[in-house]
């Protein structure tokens, strides 16, 4: 059974431990601005919502890449960027309708969530279980994915 990140914004306190853990895992520094998961603040609602790549089936980034630099990790299902192949053209950053693959000016490559190879550090760091890494058929995750992808028309294949 493949696992997925499950995000429950109702449990998020906005502590940003996930951003710290993510940036440390991927860059070796505690720098939230370089985290691949981002906590958004909703002042009017008094809420926080962590958000990152859902590793969607459409894989817009994979399809848009002109040099085959994004592949699917067979073990985790994560869409993973190969730094060796990425030329930094940024086409994937406009193709991804969720805004979750981004260009890093410090590396000249694009960066995105890779599920830490199957041990996502954001989930490990989250003190309130707002981010968990669980079986992919968990309906909550499906709902998040479905609502995120809903009615993106050119993705739809109709008979």
């Amino acid at each position: 059974m493949q696992k997925s990140l499950h995000i429950d914004p109702g449990k998020c306190t906005g502590c940003l431990q996930c951003e710290m853990a993510c940036s440390y895992e991927h860059t070796g520094t505690f720098n939230p601005s370089r985290s691949f998961i981002k906590v958004f603040t909703f002042h009017h609602e008094g809420r926080f919502a962590p958000y990152t790549c859902t590793q969607c089936d459409e894989a817009w980034c994979v399809r848009a890449c002109p040099v085959d630099a994004i592949s699917i990790d067979a073990a985790t299902g994560a869409k993973v960027v190969s730094d060796d192949k990425c030329v930094g053209c940024k086409v994937c950053t406009i193709a991804c309708p969720f805004g979750t693959i981004n260009y890093s000016q410090s590396t000249g490559k694009v960066v995105k969530c890779d599920l830490c190879g199957g041990d996502p550090q954001c989930a490990a760091a989250c003190p309130t279980d707002a981010i968990t890494y669980i079986d992919a058929d968990w309906t909550g995750y499906d709902r998040m994915l479905a609502s995120a992808s809903k009615s993106l028309p050119s993705a739809e294949v109709t008979a």
Binding site: R47, A49, G88, A95, P97, L152, S154, T158
Partner: protein, 417 residues
Amino acid sequence: MQHIIIGAGPAGVVAAETLRKADPDAVITIIGDEPEPPYSRMAIPYYLIDNVGESGTYLRDPDQHFKTQNIEVVQQRVDKIDAAGKQLNLADGSTRAYDKLLIATGSHPVSPPIPGLDLPQVHSCWTLENARNIIRLAQAGSNVVLIGAGFIGCIILEALVKRGINLAVVEAGNRMVPRMLDENAGGLLESWCKKEGIDVHSSCTVDGIAAAEGELVEVSLSDGSKLSAALVITATGVKANIDLLQGTGIKTDQGIIVDHSMQTSEPDIYAAGDVAQGVDFSTGKHEVQAIQPTAADHGRIAALNMAGQGSAHHGTLNMNVLDTVGLISCSFGLWMGVEGGESAQLYNAEEYQYINLQFDGDHLVGASSVGKTQHIGVLRGLIESRIHLGVWKQRLMQDPTAIMEAYVGCTQELGYS
């Protein structure tokens, strides 16, 4: 079932792969006329600065990928399509029969009629072969004139500057990238380029290019300047490769007219990528977009239909992202706005920061930005999902940078229960 794809660019390769998945037993052939393995023009700027070698521009691993996928790749020029007889005549005199044909022949650079364009110092920047010539002539310290500050012109600026040349850019429009960016954004690009030491001439055209002393040429501009150059690069637009269709009866305009399933006016013949004039998501009209994401989407939709898996798309969204000597800009959809629509913008010239959102009612229909690299794809999501922004419309009017919050707020349960 024999599928033939003419053209080995992204649309053709994505189509071949999609066909292989959809129809494991089909015979699939890609015919391309360039003497290279299938490669990506998007990677050429990075080849010009030696970030990648030639192999870094290849769409797929040329030794393994096509063999593994059982896709035949033929290097030949197609001379004629015989739609009635369902066969192709190749330049070597042979013929190839097909059941379903995909035309993905791309586009070619075009130039205004400027005297001197045939001089050996003048090159376009389109193919790997062009790139090799540019690398040969753009030696450090030499003067280079770039004609055209459109998307392609701008995307190779950095490569040229990094090669240590002295660069002048001539653009006929009143700003840089006029077909992708508005005056604010185009103006930011121009002042950025000037800051980077590039000599920008906008609202200016080239009167002529003439041979000068040594290996140099002299470029005469409409503003009276005369520029000496070792290399002149033309980047003044591209045009769909539709000459091949003469006599076939297939309907063309700027490109090949295709329906929502990427079929041409001829049954069993499809078109995809730069050569195709498909439905634009924003306008509903047929337009040639000539962009990488559209090529990939076209290739996929065409292939599914060729394999008999009915598939229609709702039009492709026009969008671009551009890195101009380190200043990143992008635009989506109806970035110039719609009649009766509203817009919100934030403009900070000193910091080279700009974002402009265009609304029609409570839908986002277009957007552009300069100096933003984070979450820009969500602009596509907001536009293409036709999300009702509701309360977020007003919030975006006040703070147009809150695009990600708007998207997450509109699509996710924030946990009110």
